[in-house]
Point group: C2
Chain length 365, copies 2
Amino acid sequence: MDYDTPLFFHVMQYAAAADRDVIDMVSGNPDWEPPEALRDGLREYADADPDAFQYPPSDGLRELREEVAARRGVDADRIVITNGAGEANYLAMAAALERDAGDEILLTDPVYPYYPGKARMLGADPRLVPVADDGDLDVAAMREAAGPNTAAILINSPNNPTGAVYDADTVAAMIDIAEANDALLLSDEVYDHYDFSGRFESALAVDSAHAVVTNSFSKSMAITGLRVGYAVFPPHLVEAARTRHMLVNVTGARPSQVAVLRALRETGAEYYEASRDLLRKRVDAFTDALDAAGAEYLHPDGAFYVFARFEGFPGTLENVERLVDEAGVACMPGDTFGTYDEWVRFALVTPRAEEAAERLADHDF
Amino acid sequence: MDYDTPLFFHVMQYAAAADRDVIDMVSGNPDWEPPEALRDGLREYADADPDAFQYPPSDGLRELREEVAARRGVDADRIVITNGAGEANYLAMAAALERDAGDEILLTDPVYPYYPGKARMLGADPRLVPVADDGDLDVAAMREAAGPNTAAILINSPNNPTGAVYDADTVAAMIDIAEANDALLLSDEVYDHYDFSGRFESALAVDSAHAVVTNSFSKSMAITGLRVGYAVFPPHLVEAARTRHMLVNVTGARPSQVAVLRALRETGAEYYEASRDLLRKRVDAFTDALDAAGAEYLHPDGAFYVFARFEGFPGTLENVERLVDEAGVACMPGDTFGTYDEWVRFALVTPRAEEAAERLADHDF
């Protein structure tokens, strides 16, 4: 199994070892506060009776599944609470492949590197389909690429790393392609709270037996370490997913589920709006600086990354390391995300994003 | 994938719906207090800075790995912190199968039902080898069964459901069999704190490139819901296991890891002794009552189950349900654990174990 995380760690380690101040724009860890109710949930749990320390139901606390179901407008029995979206995507891909309807998984290029890694681990053949020049999904190219051997098409909106947000027509078209090829459309929507465009549409908007939606609270509540995610399966696929979840993990961590449940119930819209506004301002300041630096970039409509390239400065590991040493900014080489070796990705989850932008504007590329 | 947990749930649901008081001896959830330091760890975490809510290292908090490494006498780099022993066993089986050295996994009969379920999910062929009449491992039968197609031999000591504890000679012989067949010996030691015999030996006692040890804090700290376990791999297998762990789960839950770390550091031997003593007393009282009832059983040297059979009362689901209705005691049908359809398993993780024993002694089988 080849997988690019060593490169990810490599850049972080290189930045940490650098002989100067470096602004870390590598990792995707939110830097803002989790909801106060989440902390309250953990405090409450710490004092609970011993039986609260034992296995929750394998597919998650019933109340949490119901809370999620009500928000997503689906039956709670279609939901499996997972160890983050990481496990949810793993279960979704496995569900697609267990159908014996081909072993190819279509992904976008650029692509979040976990997807091809997971696909290969499950014995599938990941195939990258380039996005449009503006970063939007190329629906026609996807339709062209899909065929009898396509088990699944995985999309991610708002997108990491492009920041593209797929609208209702796009999502409906993708489900149509999946249905036409007896494939599953897997829609990873972990950044759904960070849509700056207002155009985001969930794949749950279409009632289809060929769509699986994955999500987590890692990004929306700034709690990547709590590991609470979920997958919404079509009714006929949920039982097999539940079995695999049980055989791999038994169940997810209960303190995390209790804390997320309380946070879901008690956190108002203003919490989510505040993080979205914070990110929108960072995006604006950062892209203004990129304009000043003469960089090309995909303007993000959502999520919290900026995918960019600088004239005469391909996004190789060597150049990324030079940028650490010379500009004090650490980012990810573009070929981590597919074939985009001219590009780099900046994560805007640092209060120093604007300062980083100024450093880039001052840097002589 | 067929898997017996639906039966497990079925019995629990049947017991819960019964029109009388029922003592639940089905599930393996400890009923005693977790360490106080574990609660303190959760409280401390609830007040931590936002960055403590983000991803821990994929293979677990460094301090936790080092704490475990020091206790087990191994290098921390051989340890992957997992989502409970469930994931640890999944990673261990996958590591054995990825070696392309056969697709058979030898298990004992009776067997913990997750093992054959996991093996089949990974595409392996589970093969059950009967234990000796007293429940002890039949090393000669294992040696006979192992061959070129054996990828792994999985043992569990102290054993669920037999209560057998494997001594140093047995463990060394099993590692020898694994080495002779280029297989991996997978040793699941989750009940290691509940050895009443003093004979328990870990597979880590033998320095072998063919042994993987799995464990968790679920049973020793009475926290099955926190999902913190680990696997100790030979150095040449750890990287692939880390990759699979990352691709399936990204990482485990951080609040749970922080709490376990604090509990490991601050909990004295008296905590573990108290739970062991509690269980020993329950085993004695329960087996005395089984003697009075004329039942046959395997006397447990460890863990917290009693595997028993009653003359003329095979452990079918129908009989288990009759026992719920007529005696007010819920247990697990024996064929859940392999081919032992004459038997039933009682879990002694209820303060009412002695009362249950009296009900059984009074029951007309």
